[in-house]
């Protein structure tokens, strides 16, 4: 075996295959067992009632209106509140509404996990592009690690693409022509929120991201064989343009795939918020993969100083995420405008534990664990913080999708766990193979020497 070559350990490979098989079985089970008719839903609701002994249906049928009544909203504002039900107030019955949400649940569960792992690869690609664009001197030793992780982008983004295209009205109420016909606000947005343009945009994201990934990886490998810096210069230029492209498409991606699940609701900060989640998770995964490779005796040229820097980024972007989370929350909470505040009312009332637990996982724990400078150099400390951050940001994506699509009919059961297992398995498999393709030591990069001698 050549020096600095990684092969996915056979046990880990087996583990990832087991995860995928279990996950796939669970996902299929989730799709098969959704209620098909209103009678099924009535049965489920009756069972629930018998279990809990409370009139659950009456209780939650229009809990949002109850909440609004408590907050003192006018009847007119309530009538316009269509955000939380995919069919709006046009839903002919409560059971029909529940049926729709229960049928949506496996879609949402799959999408949450698919997007979570895709955004990790995408965020790593952005971090990688930033290293080139800023001509960073500390990070070139990690280029092959980052490239290994971004190899998941192609399969990951194709799956997400397929999901958002085929989810249809499960996710995006604005695709329901009957609903749009009686909704002036959605008619006004139809110039942007219409299905053909939606597909075109998604295709542009998919192509743009993957082309940059392909092109930069090609140049990066060619640079290792070259005796001038032409390939590096090409990568520099490509990275600058990719970053511009990414910041535009990331914003529209966040609006398209997440914000338009509640098409009446909007937040100007939303795109940045999604970006913060993506970025902090990605850097965390770079740190985890680096620690894994070091534990295999590879990456001898990566020192604890590099780990220290990655942990600093984890710490800083955890705080950045919290800053954006709070900025979005406080403005909406304070102004208390009915159209806006629905977003947080459902999350606080129906998802309270997750909603506030996420803050502890994403802010308090990383802050406490990573505050001390010395702790950032200790691998197992970084791993602890990484687990908190990744769990917390999975919950974050969960809370972006679930309340908007399945409302109070959510759970964390077979569909959710299976999707998580499947995509975790796929991620391990693809990234492991991606890392093993070439030597982990980048050669001939103009900053590689500075990076190897990095001592601060």
């Amino acid at each position: 075996m050549a020096k600095d070559m990684y092969t996915l350990p056979s046990k880990l490979k087996l583990f990832s295959i087991v995860l995928m098989v279990l996950g796939l079985a669970g996902i299929i089970f989730g799709f098969m067992t959704t209620p098909k008719t209103i009678d099924d839903v009535k049965k489920i609701l009756a069972e629930e009632e018998a279990h809990h002994g409370v009139d659950h249906a009456e209780d939650t049928a229009n809990f949002i209106d109850i909440a609004r009544g408590e907050e003192g909203y006018s009847g007119a504002a309530m009538e316009h509140a269509t955000d939380l039900s995919a069919e709006g107030h046009g839903a002919s019955s409560h059971e029909e509404h529940v049926l729709h949400q229960l049928q949506t649940r496996p879609w949402s569960a799959t999408f949450v996990a698919a997007f979570f792992f895709m955004m990790i690869a995408l965020g790593v690609l952005v971090f990688y592009a930033i290293q080139f664009a800023s001509q960073a001197g500390w990070s070139p030793v990690l280029y092959r690690v980052m490239e290994g992780i971004t190899s998941y982008l192609l399969p990951g983004s194709i799956i997400v693409f397929v999901l958002v295209i085929f989810a249809g009205e499960h996710f995006y109420p604005w695709q329901n022509a009957d609903l749009v016909a009686e909704d002036k606000i959605l008619q006004g947005k139809a110039g942007y929120l219409n299905f053909p343009f939606f597909i075109i945009r998604a295709a542009i994201y998919l192509l743009g991201w993957n082309i940059y990934r392909y092109y930069s990886r090609k140049n990066s490998l060619a640079q290792a064989e070259a005796n001038n810096f032409d390939h590096y210069r090409k990568n520099f230029k490509a990275s600058v343009f990719f970053l511009i492209f990414f910041l535009l498409t990331e914003a529209t991606m966040a609006w398209d795939w997440f914000m338009s699940m509640t098409p009446h609701w909007y937040s100007t900060l939303f795109a940045w918020y999604v970006f913060a989640t993506m970025f902090v998770s990605s850097i965390t995964v770079i740190a985890l993969v680096t620690i894994h490779l070091k534990s295999k005796g590879l990456l001898s040229f990566v020192s604890d100083r590099h780990l220290h820097d990655l942990a600093k980024y984890m710490f800083a972007f955890s705080i950045f995420w919290t800053y954006l989370w709070f900025s979005q929350f406080m403005l909406i909470w304070y102004s208390n405008i009915p159209e806006e505040v629905t977003y947080f009312i459902i999350r606080i009332q129906e998802y309270q534990g997750l909603f506030f637990g996420m803050l502890i996982l994403n802010f308090v724990f990383p802050m406490l664990v990573l505050m001390n400078s010395d702790f950032k150099k200790v691998p197992w400390f970084v791993v602890i913080a990484a687990v908190f951050i990744l769990v917390g940001h999975y919950i974050d994506v969960f809370l972006l999708v679930m309340p908007s699509t399945v409302g109070h009919n959510w759970g964390f059961g077979i569909p959710e766990i299976a999707a998580l297992l499947f995509f975790a398995g796929l991620f391990i498999m693809v990234v492991g193979n991606g890392l093993g393709k070439v030597s982990l030591r980048p050669k001939n990069d103009p900053f590689i020497k500075e990076s190897e001698n990095y001592h601060f």
Binding site: G72, F326, F329, M330, W333, Y334, S335, N336, S373, H455, F456
Partner: protein
């Protein structure tokens, strides 16, 4: 007997760091270094005890947070509760989201300013203090390393320092401590 010292001047921070490592490895004693800007990693290379400035900063931050909490509680809850945008202002708990920016600002304000002042005091940099650096060029682009001669041979030491890349070497015989 006057303490003899050698002043070696360097023109680059990386060179200085390397020279510090070499000098310490050769068991010479560096008594002081003057630089025009903070050199990253120099304290570590010199073997100085880790700074406790961060701990004081943390404590100042806690003070700022406490001040913010007490202040907002007195102003907005106890002394003069107002109805702003229909938001509850009768308990601290209910109104806390609006106070968080203030808590944050005062935490940063206290931690930042008091840390800088502490740093000045600890470095004995109070107003009207006379500058101590032996060569005015160390405020511009040069780095000066002060090495105790003790009972080493001046010639060997000078030669050694020259080999570490010093651009200028001068022998100083201090009559009095400054």
């Amino acid at each position: 007997m006057a303490a003899k010292k050698i002043h070696a001047i360097y023109t680059d921070d990386d060179l200085l760091l390397q020279a510090v490592n070499q000098t310490r490895a050769a068991k010479y004693h560096i008594s002081e270094i003057f630089t025009p800007f903070p050199v990253h990693g120099l304290d570590h290379a010199l073997g100085l005890a880790p700074t406790r400035l961060a701990i004081t900063s943390f404590l100042y931050g806690l003070c700022g947070l406490t001040v913010a909490v007490l202040m907002m509680n007195y102003m907005m809850i106890q002394d003069w509760p107002q109805n702003i945008g229909g938001k509850p202002s009768f308990t601290f708990y209910q109104n806390m989201p609006t106070f968080i920016p203030i808590m944050f600002e005062l935490t940063v304000f206290f931690a930042g300013h008091l840390m800088v002042i502490t740093f000045y005091m600890r470095s004995k940099l109070w107003p009207f203090r006379k500058a101590e650096n032996p060569d005015p060029r160390t405020t511009d682009a040069h780095f000066l390393m002060e090495v105790d001669v003790d009972n080493h041979d001046v010639e060997t030491l000078s030669k050694f320092l020259y080999d570490t890349g010093a651009s200028e070497i001068s022998l100083i015989e201090n009559e009095q401590d400054h």
